[in-house]
Amino acid sequence: MANVPVDPSIVASCRELAADIATDVQRFIDAHTTVGVERAVARAYGVEGADDQGTPLVNTLVDRYRQDGLLSKGISFFLGSAIARGAGSIAEAAESLAYGRELDRGGDVSPEQARAALEPHTRAAIARIDEARSLRMANRERLGTAPSPLKYVIVATGNIYDDATQAKAAAFAGADIVAVIRATAQSLLDYVPEGPTTEGYGGTFATQENFRIIRRALDEAGDEQGRYLQQTNYSSGLCMAEIAWMGAVERLDMLLNDAMYGILFRDINMRRTFVDQYFSRRLVARSGMIINTGEDNYLTTADAVEKAHTVLASQFINEAFALRAGLREEQMGLGHAYEIDPWIENSFLFEIAQAQLIRQIFDRHPTKWMPPTKHKTGDIFQSHVHDAMFNLVGIATNQSIELLGMFSEAIHNPLLMDRYLSLKSARYVFNAARDLGDEIQWKPGGIVEKRAKQVLDEAHGLLERVRDDSIWDAIGQGAFGDIKRTRDGGKGHAGVVPRDREYLNPILDVLEGGR
């Protein structure tokens, strides 16, 4: 085996440190809610639609209660109270709460009465997640999936109908997982657009209807190809909780979902992100989807040799947060990347050492191996070779999910031909080196072993510092991705609300295991 020596006591210590770091934040999470969480709850109860300006009803509803300082009781309380006082349906309740002339303060209904009135709706919400999960699992069982690494490709035309065509083409060419890249600005929108969309810069909007369109295309492609095709999208940004709900009920298989990505790379407020990621992951845990974390991004802003350990440290932290949200290790697609300057001597050995280290430490996790991007230029021929070396590390270290590199990286979003050739290269390398990892041993004390040890030691050191400083301050000092953020800074801070003593969220209660 191509194993590297890993000191289990250091790994155990890393996990303890990460647990301390996450527990500190969890205290904050358990005392707060956000407009994003409450909108996701309203959607789960069946609040749907948008006004003629395109503002979703969940936004009008939740914003009204936030502005009046009542959101701390939870939107569930007001919905339940309206039902308890005779509203005929959730839709009727939501519309009167959102648009009624006088703000409905809940009357004299108690939180327990509101909970009781919501009971059938709470059960229906959870049943929607469970039914989608069962159908997804049945389809996977029926059609079967490919051996790892699963080949993951992106489509990004801006038009959901073109995306559906491209997704089917990718399936034909051998893809196992299709991601529809989001329009670049969507992570900073504090609402989820409605309906099918045909215009978007840099990608296509994530909407519930767009999820359905791609799911349908991939289901068709799966039947045609006799192979289950997985769908993924982004539960990140200011609407991560709502998108987790949509993904759960529209049978997505994976969601990009990271405890810290939005803070670092989209300048979203820390408090907002920590609370949102928790609720989104509770939904993901119930649905059985796999999350994809974004540590690979650290190496696009920071140096991939000097800062390799920040990826590993962050993976321990993402794992600790995910465990606190009820995810199983088998749902944690921890991300890492092949981003070292390819012209550095022995860069390939450093890459393989780091990838193997992560594979061994997170042995039950569906690790996600990300391709080179930072050192890609417009030289597509060199780029194709670069990606082939990346593929070789992917197969030799048996990564679970591999996002395929594209030779046109740094030029344009992948064209049909780019994706075809990328899949062809991956098919060749994965097949040609299928058992390479089982056949080789590293030279004791050699470059690969030393590199793996160094990265683990440095990750441990960083986790100690983050634990001592708290994650809040560590991020303030640029511990991850060389990016600095403050506790009160960033977008979406106004949407964070302390929970009242009587805060009501029956859906969260079920997701947390029936409190």
Binding site: A169, F172, A185, Y201, G202, A410
Partner: protein, 251 residues
């Protein structure tokens, strides 16, 4: 005066052979007819004796082709004029001492990825300490005060910050290029700076993978920087150009 004609054509292994390779997709399934279509497609692009070396099904109803051929075309180099950034490359020490001697203060540089663009790789490479390709960013110079506003900054916000900090130069980075949004957004920024009345007090630089000096000038910027630009090239341009302008205004 007309300069002498200077024809060039593609080079394979013999002077003037015109050898080129093409790859493309046609929306047809592979077949002998599809192969002939690919050959004629190459011919109408000016390739003589095209050889279809690959025809593979890339998706249902789509074929991928690789074609070699000899081009009929050539270009007269003597007719080409390209605006080039005229400043000479300065070393780090030259830049530092030029700022000290000519200005006696730090030069203020404000930069951002504007509009919906979230790709900070370029602006970070130029401004952040780390730099790019072993060439440290403007933050690492004693002579620059750098404000990197990061991703998805609105034009209004960038202009406001530039005025607040008294920017000597503003760097705009545009990576996303779908439907030419980079051009529209960049040109809108120049207009905004003009409207706000400080266009003549600030250098405007544009950068990105699809940007070149010519395009930047067309859009109203003072200079454009494309892929693989080193931070020291940008630093050198800022210092030289500002020095030139301060000389001109003191005359």
């Amino acid at each position: 005066m007309r300069s002498k004609e200077q024809l060039v054509t593609a080079y394979g292994d013999r002077d003037g052979d015109g050898m080129m390779q093409l790859s493309f997709v046609l929306p047809v399934s592979p077949s002998p007819r599809a192969r002939e279509a690919a050959k004629r497609f190459a011919e109408v692009h000016g390739l003589r004796e095209p050889l279809v070396t690959t025809m593979e099904q890339a998706a249902e109803g789509y074929s991928y082709f690789v074609v070699y051929g000899r081009t009929r075309h050539s270009i007269d180099l003597s007719t080409i004029e390209v605006p080039e950034i005229g400043t000479k490359q300065l070393s780090r020490d030259e830049i530092e001492s030029a700022i000290k001697e000519r200005f006696g203060r730090k030069l203020v540089v404000v930069g951002a990825c504007t509009g919906s663009d979230a790709h900070t790789v370029g602006i970070d490479a130029i401004l952040n300490y780390k730099g790019y390709g072993g060439d440290k960013g403007l933050e690492s110079y004693k002579g620059f005060e750098v404000h990197n506003l990061g991703a998805q900054v609105e034009n209004e916000e960038l202009a406001a910050m530039a005025r607040k900090r008294g920017a000597d130069a503003i760097l705009v980075s545009q990576v996303i290029t779908q439907r030419n949004c980079h051009k529209e957004n960049a040109a809108a920024f120049v207009e905004l700076v003009k409207e706000q009345g400080f266009r003549d007090r600030v250098l405007l630089l544009l950068g990105g993978p699809r940007i070149d000096h010519k395009l930047a000038l067309e859009l109203g910027f003072d200079a454009g920087f494309g892929p693989a630009t080193k931070p020291s090239e940008v630093a050198g341009f800022v210092v030289e150009e500002l020095a030139k302008r301060s000389r001109a205004s003191s005359l």
